[in-house]
């Protein structure tokens, strides 16, 4: 336990985490500090492409082969399953409508790439290694949860007799060819095809400065999270509680799955983090299109303002410490 605290403390004094806190502070003080939209979008493109490239290159240089399949399938199932648990809990504990509960659930089944990246930096700082193909999991876990969310919302429609079609083909395209998936998977394939040698040629841009870029990105996340929390009015205590215990449930499920499919301690930690994290890039856009009645004033503050900070500040070191203890 002393170890856990020491690890958590060391996580808190990394430049990236402190940049997040700085952004949060500036946001709460209503500073005029603002990262321009275009820069923020540019940063997320960079992060997703970089993480894809590294994952692919590192898979190419490993001798993983078909052995990664069970892990990938488990990741997809996890993303499908978590929304059902989340939905059940939300219906039990909050007054959210079915639609809103389904929308929130989709976010928690999917993943937050920045949370994931922060976790990889944390592991790296502790010299803990992990399986390269976890990055393929990130891409695979983005969308199944959206399908579950829509199925959950549809059940409700069915009761009302206004059952909407599950997927217009147009929407399927929008979800599958979503920018973040194209970048993650595309980067992964490029990294895999060009290998460590290819990665080396672009490492001074995509690898070495990565941690520094992450600082800037987390600074922006802090600003945005603070802004969302300040202007959010619809978050009841039970909703906030959900935003805090749901990641722990996710982490337990993710950790167990990682153990079951034979991941290393590092890999298991990352899968726990993925399961614990909630999307705020790909899923909100998909949900706005598919379930326009769902209130973005609920799902964004919850995933971005509550769960994201929780995971980054407390969750990651916690999951890592517990899993390290269990594996050792």
């Amino acid at each position: 336990m002393a170890d856990v605290l020491a690890v958590a403390a060391s996580n808190l004094v990394s430049p990236a985490i402190l940049a997040f806190l700085l952004g949060g502070l500036a946001g709460f003080l209503r500073s005029d500090l603002e990262i321009p939209e275009a820069i923020a979008k540019g940063l997320s493109i960079y992060l997703m492409l970089a993480i894809g490239l590294k994952g692919g290159a590192s898979l190419a240089s490993s001798d993983a082969g078909m052995s990664i399949l069970p892990g990938l399938i488990a990741a997809v199932l996890l993303s499908f399953l978590i929304p059902y648990i989340a939905f059940f809990l939300l219906r039990m504990t909050t007054r959210f409508s079915t639609i809103d509960s389904a929308a929130v659930s989709a976010h928690y089944g999917s993943v937050s790439i920045v949370t994931f990246v922060t976790a990889t930096q944390f592991l790296t700082s502790l010299d803990i290694t992990y399986e390269a193909y976890i990055i393929a999991m990130v891409a695979l876990m983005e969308t199944p949860a959206i399908v579950s969310g829509l199925l959950l919302a549809r059940k409700k429609g069915a009761e009302n007799g206004t059952k909407p079609p599950l997927f217009q083909p147009e929407m399927l395209r929008e979800i599958l060819f979503n920018g973040s998936i194209m970048l993650l998977l595309g980067g992964f394939v490029i990294g895999w095809a060009t290998g460590e040698q290819g990665l080396e040629t672009v490492a001074p841009f995509f690898v070495d400065p990565f941690q520094g870029v992450l600082c800037l990105f987390l600074l922006d996340m802090g600003l945005v999270a603070a802004h969302r929390l300040r202007t959010a009015s619809s978050l009841s205590p039970s909703a906030i509680a959900f935003g805090l215990y749901m990641p722990i449930i996710g982490a337990v499920l993710g950790g167990a799955t990682g153990y079951a499919v034979g991941l290393s301690a590092g890999g298991t930690t990352l899968l726990a983090v993925l399961a614990a994290s909630a999307s705020y890039i790909a899923v909100p856009a998909a949900i706005r299109l598919a379930l326009p009645k769902a209130d973005p004033g609920i799902f964004i503050p919850l995933s971005l303002g509550v769960t994201f900070p929780f995971n980054v500040l407390v969750g990651i070191p916690l999951y890592a410490a517990v899993i390290a203890t269990l594996y050792s």
Binding site: S44, V224, R288, P292, I300
Partner: protein, 102 residues
């Protein structure tokens, strides 16, 4: 200088719905449109400003100048395209020089 009266329809809508609005306007007979991206705003759905991460809080404005004869059709089509999405819609009279362009 002879001027012709047209209707200018302005729509503020969440960014991800812009393609649908534009499509609806075109199908209803609009010959052109202009999109003003990256807007902020506030209304019954609360504060909206881009988060840089997801388009979920970004607004855009679509401006569409059409012949008065189809104005109401275009407005209805846009209204349906918006559906339950977040947005507002209003129209006004403008004068143009080239009747056939709109």
């Amino acid at each position: 200088m002879q001027m012709f009266t047209k209707k200018k329809i302005e729509v503020v809508v969440e960014a991800i719905y812009a393609p649908r609005v534009v499509e609806a306007a075109k199908n209803a007979g609009a010959k052109g449109y202009t999109v003003l991206p990256n807007l902020q705003g506030s209304g019954t759905h609360g504060d909206r400003r881009g988060s840089g991460l997801s388009g979920a809080f970004e607004n855009v404005m679509v401006i569409c100048v059409v012949d008065p004869s189809i104005a109401s059709t275009v407005m209805t089509a846009i209204k349906e395209a918006i559906g339950d999405a977040i947005g507002v819609l209003y129209a006004s009279d403008v004068e143009v020089l080239r009747d056939e362009h709109f």
